[in-house]
Amino acid sequence: MEQLMQTLKEQIIRQLNLNDKKPEDIGNDDPLFVEGLGLDSIDALELIVLLQQEYKIKLANAEEGQTVFRSIRTMAQYITDRQAQDAAAS
């Protein structure tokens, strides 16, 4: 989980062009939107693309994004859970 959160920070910085940020600037529990990292609605769409590109995960519905993209930790937990579900199903 720690390694996944570190990887996510690097991927988010690259995907969202957060050139003035470093992974260590982003706390695992910092809010990603508004306060905290200050992401916006276009960034939310880019996070959905990131999940698809890097983890082959599609969000089941738009509402899910509000909880999944709350912080780095919630994203990492979602990816871990979905990968476990996929592994169990195969």
Binding site: L16, N17, L18, D20, G38, I42, L45, E46, V49, Q52
Partner: protein, 214 residues
């Protein structure tokens, strides 16, 4: 072309890896690629605006030229509704269009898609400075001072516009060019009359002849 009460109170020309404002060299970065040059100038200006890095290169170029105009100009505290923007270029948003098209083969990038209109640069400048006045973006094969002068002049004549950023902002591949002016109704020390001749002269600025001591 333009009404005699309109003046150029600040100007900014960006090309050949140099930024020149009011005849003086503000910044130079020899040998840098477009993105590197623009981000270098952003850091040189010491602006704290993280959204800059998310923008396409057309918006970055326009935003930086506008930043120079507001820093070096003598812009007064006009009401947001009374400050307009009129920009022109030849390549529209083709630079961003090509990048977006390249992303479509994988997963289309929403962040690239939002820049596939040339007038987005006007929106970015307006958001940054809180402008809410008249605005327009025109695409023409080459810099057309007569058209620019006519349209900006009409804005001052027919609307409550008190100040207006106007000019040419163009990016395609490694080619880029910005020639922008701040227009105001009232003269200020050093202001030049807003005429076709002045715009033509500004566009013809020879960057090679201007150095740090200019």
């Amino acid at each position: 072309m333009s009404a005699p009460e309109i003046y150029i109170t600040a100007d900014c020309v960006v090309r050949d890896n140099k930024v020149i404002s009011n005849g003086s060299l503000l910044y130079a970065q020899e040998g840098a690629a477009v993105t590197e040059f623009l981000e270098g100038f952003y850091r040189h200006l010491a602006i704290d605006y993280p959204k800059f890095f998310k923008m396409d290169r057309l918006s970055k170029l326009g935003l930086l030229a506008a930043e120079v105009l507001t820093k070096n100009g003598r812009q007064r505290a006009y009401a947001p509704e009374n400050t307009g923007i009129v920009l022109t270029n030849a390549q529209a948003s083709l630079d961003a269009d090509i990048r977006y098209y390249a992303s479509v083969s994988n997963l289309p990038s929403p962040a690239l898609f939002v820049y596939t209109l040339p007038n987005i640069v006007i929106g970015e400048i307006s958001i940054r400075h809180g402008f809410k006045g008249e605005n327009a973006f025109f695409v023409s094969e080459q810099f057309d001072p007569a058209m620019l002068g006519f349209y900006a002049g009409e804005l001052f004549r027919t609307t409550p516009t008190q100040a207006c950023m106007a000019g040419w902002v163009d990016v395609i591949g490694e080619k880029y060019e910005a020639v922008m002016v701040l227009l105001e109704k009232e003269a200020a020390p050093g202001a030049k009359p807003f005429t076709t001749e002045q715009l033509t002269k500004l566009y013809a600025t020879d960057h090679g002849a201007i150095n740090a001591n200019a």
